[in-house]
């Protein structure tokens, strides 16, 4: 089937002609999308692209390096607040502000990676969780960060280009997301990526093989935080307004849910997970307006539950999806995709 004959074939980005064709089609459709789609759908696509960045970033940490993080909302917040503050207070141009706040996030990731050297399982979970909580609390109470009221995002402008509408933002966000995805896919084919994977499979074995655990574990945290920081910075522009309550513990769980649904240790899976789950999130947000389902749920809530609480159904469905996927399809959507592909390849046998 796909036998690799030498190293260069192994590190190729796209290893078959079919794949290359679909890749080009994908780029073309991405470029054409904003010219044919409605405004709300473009907003949705932006949201998806941002979540895909986070999912890939978290997947580098969870899926490839085998660490766990319940505090990624913290990095997301650092990215968002960093970008906004650098642009309003220090008048940095947009690209510089975005990259430097992502670097700040990466630095915090490195710091968080230090205790992670000695912790695993539940201990690592609580340490990362504590970090996420601490960031939100600090941001909520410090006046520099606008306190509970939050901050308004400045206009996105660099050079002659300004992005006011979702359509103009789309080009910025999707380009960045695309580049970061390529970078992630390439990273996993390098020495660094292979070190990450070796650590996931067995950190002790990796260390005996000469992988520097201290370096690569903290690096995994830093890279993951960098991705999340970039996504956070972009999210500030998409929302137009940021406040601490949007970076809570639940958000960290959602990020983890994206990764799990997409499939651990797969870039393609992360794209699927980010896109599908964001779509679900946005649809469930106004579940009452859905045809048929909405009416049933409305009458059900009037009779048994509470109509005002109906939007919380998103939380129930997300929870169930997580549980059922982990129980029945631990590889997520990517595993499903692989099985479908294999099924059709050998069909009708």
């Amino acid at each position: 089937m796909d036998m690799k004959r030498d190293y260069y074939e192994d590190i190729q980005l796209l290893d078959s002609k079919v794949l290359r064709f679909w890749f080009l089609m994908f780029i073309a459709s991405l470029a054409a999308f904003p010219f044919v789609a409605q405004n709300y759908h473009i907003y949705m696509a932006n949201y998806m692209a941002i979540n895909v960045i986070v999912t890939v970033g978290l997947n580098i940490l969870v899926g490839y390096t085998g660490q766990i993080s319940l505090g990624h909302a913290g990095f997301f917040a650092i990215g968002a607040y960093g970008t906004v503050l650098l642009m309003t207070n220090l008048h940095f141009p947009f690209p510089v502000a975005l990259v430097s706040s992502a670097l700040i996030a990466a630095f915090f990731g490195f710091i968080l990676g230090l205790p992670a050297l000695r912790l695993e399982g539940p201990y690592l979970a609580i340490a990362t969780l504590g970090f996420g909580m601490a960031i939100t609390q600090v941001i909520g109470r410090w006046q520099v960060f606008g306190g509970r009221m939050g901050l308004e995002t400045p206009k996105l402008a660099f050079g002659p280009y300004t992005a006011d509408t979702d359509r103009e933002l789309y080009f910025v966000i999707v380009t960045i997301a695309f580049l970061l995805l390529l970078a992630a896919r390439n990273l996993m084919k390098t020495r660094v990526g292979r070190a990450f994977i070796a650590i996931r499979d067995s950190d002790i074995a990796a260390e005996t093989m000469g992988v520097n655990l201290t370096l690569y574990k903290t690096l995994a945290f830093a890279v993951s935080a960098f991705y999340t920081g970039i996504a956070g910075g972009l999210m500030a522009f998409l929302l137009g307004f940021i406040n601490p309550s949007s970076f809570n513990f639940i958000l960290s769980i959602y990020f983890l849910a994206f990764v799990i649904v997409g499939g651990l240790g797969s870039i393609f899976g992360s794209i699927m997970g980010g896109v599908v789950m964001t779509w679900l999130l946005l649809v469930l947000d106004k579940v009452q307006e859905l045809p048929y389902v909405g009416e049933v749920l409305t009458s059900f809530s009037e009779q048994w539950m509470n109509l005002a609480g109906l939007p919380n159904i998103a939380s129930i469905i997300f929870g169930l999806i997580i549980i059922l996927l982990v129980v029945f399809e631990p590889l997520g959507l990517y595993g499903f995709w692989i099985r479908t592909k294999i099924y059709w390849k050998t069909w009708p046998f």
Binding site: I68, I126, S301, N312, S315, G319, I323, P330
Partner: protein, 290 residues
Amino acid sequence: MFLQLIISGLSFGSLYALIALAMVIIYKTSEVPNFGQGEMAMLATFVAYTLLVTHGHSFVVSFIGALVFAAGLGIFLEFVFLRRAKDPNILSLILITLGFEMVLYGLASWKWGAEQRNFPFPVSDFDIINLGSAVISYLNIATLLITLFLMFVLFLFFKYTKVGIAMKATQQNATAARINGIRTNRIMSLTWALSSMIGAVAGMMLAPIATLDPNLMLEPLLKGFAAAVLGGMTTLVGAALGGYILGIIENLFGGYVSLEFKSVVAFLVIVLVLCFKPSGLFARHYVRKV
């Protein structure tokens, strides 16, 4: 001032200790920190509230009703979801319990909304006893006493009853326990029931201090988890002590340093402690053999 801070620290700490105990009991058998613990307790508290206020039953009946509900919920979650996981690793187990958390939270806020309610507790928070420079409310005393009583009962349970000893055996080595004729699956379900009941007691004692809404247990759960990690996830005594220590540290920090960052300090302490004692203060560090 100091005495006052210690007293309220102990009172909060005993709630953290209960949640920590509940988490550790599950952690030792199922090897997963149960993130759904808080929401399980919150739901049980809402059941108690409904029995008490909507249906007008007496407090004792509602209390027992909530405990029965909590036990049933624990068994249900373990039996229906956790047991079905094939070849689970630590990450997928954590995710399943996070899934519980989301489902239960969603259910509670769908049914009861974000409206804040007062949970009527027979002991008041406003009747106080003067202790020199400090005051202690009846509710604080009740919390402390109930917690100590519960810990004592747990101690007796694990020491002298057949089920308790079977639980300990399952925790130490499930395969060996099974060979010796213990139905480890059933024990697993019972562990979840027991832990869920302890959590429910914590929830019902917390509700009169805070207000009853679906967010009731969000922060206490994290604190309880932090307490368990602080003491060591593998020792019951350690977890309980961790709860008290965390409660006191938090209150002292809130009183002397900064009230604003009171809830952050718990996590900073945890991270610092874990840097030096990766398995918690009171647990022996477990060295993995290759």
